[in-house]
Symmetry: C2
Subunit: 197 residues, 2 copies
């Protein structure tokens, strides 16, 4: 998606160890107009698939998922929670995630009420790197007996193995920008997706 | 706001100790069509005030803030983070919050880059009870020397003191639904706001 790649080129900052800082528009300050365009792009790529629910994970996926739901006939958005709050039901699906960014393991949970066997679910998240968060969301969908339509990601780190692992399972994974390489000196190399809608 | 009060009546569940569960539409599963209407309502209540940024706090405020930004000419949304991630800048404003819901204290942080003295900021959040989260966001705005235009809340627990404490400071606080009393037996009593836009 050209608009997102432009924004990454303009405002993204590459740090050591494969870290891309995009907090000026994606995960601390949020560019809602850009998110609306991203939502439209996901809607094109997953058109006609009968998506009736969007699943994401707190925190950074929520705004993008919210903007995407508008283009799927205002379907409900459900976000996986990273901890047990006192307000959360006991009746939950749960899966484990290890975050390399935060260097800690955590549980992700969704109330059983909000994942149903009749659901046709699109997963939306901001980043895909090693794919651990996406795998956990897929696990929750499988536990519920719901149908996974596909996975929509804003920025995929194509130089990490999460994307390949998910696509190998036959899952439709659409990333609006795929970064095949980046360094502080040489900048960011995007995978050519010019054939995409 | 009639639509929100209806939704609370239909789907909200009152638990002991002043807890209102609205996770079917507000803070676990999200009703984006409702959030769009809430965004429109905030835009009416804070029209002509030159709002150029929306500040919220993770997690549940993000989706509502995102839907509200659309009605303020797609201004940026910034969300306060509840912990230090490795990706967060060192240059931050920080304030302390105690969450009675989670029974723990935490820090909330915003990068100094995203709060500027020229900003005219609308705070948006899902709930206001004792007002601790809102007070921390106001503190961050004051630290930045930015202008607080007002506070927009989806559901205010009018039987707790946060709303009164904020209004006493002369701050414009607009809550789309104010609950003056609730119990498992007798249901929910809303404050009459029929004179509001």
């Amino acid at each position: 998606m050209e608009l997102l790649e432009q924004k990454i080129r303009q405002e993204g900052r590459v740090k050591g160890q494969g870290i891309l800082k995009v907090d000026s528009f994606l995960n601390h300050q949020l560019d809602v107009a850009l998110f609306d365009e991203m939502g439209k792009a996901f809607a094109k790529r997953f058109a006609g698939e009968g998506v009736n629910k969007i699943l994401t994970i707190e925190t950074s996926g929520i705004a993008i998922a919210t903007c995407t739901a508008r283009y799927f006939d205002y379907c409900p958005v459900v976000f996986g929670k990273k901890y047990v709050s006192l307000n959360l039901d006991q009746e939950i699906y749960s899966s484990d995630v290890y975050s390399y960014t935060k260097q800690q393991a955590y549980k992700i949970m969704v109330s059983k009420k909000y994942l149903r066997p009749t659901d046709r679910i699109l997963i939306i998240d901001d980043f895909l790197a090693n794919g651990k968060a996406a795998e956990a969301l897929i696990d929750l969908i499988n536990q519920a007996g719901a149908t996974l339509v596909g996975v929509g990601i804003a920025i995929e780190k194509g130089f990490q193995d999460g994307g390949a692992l998910i696509r190998q399972q036959g899952i439709v994974l659409e990333s609006l920008a795929i970064i095949d390489g980046m360094s502080e000196d040489e900048g960011i190399v995007f995978r050519d997706q010019s054939g995409k809608k």
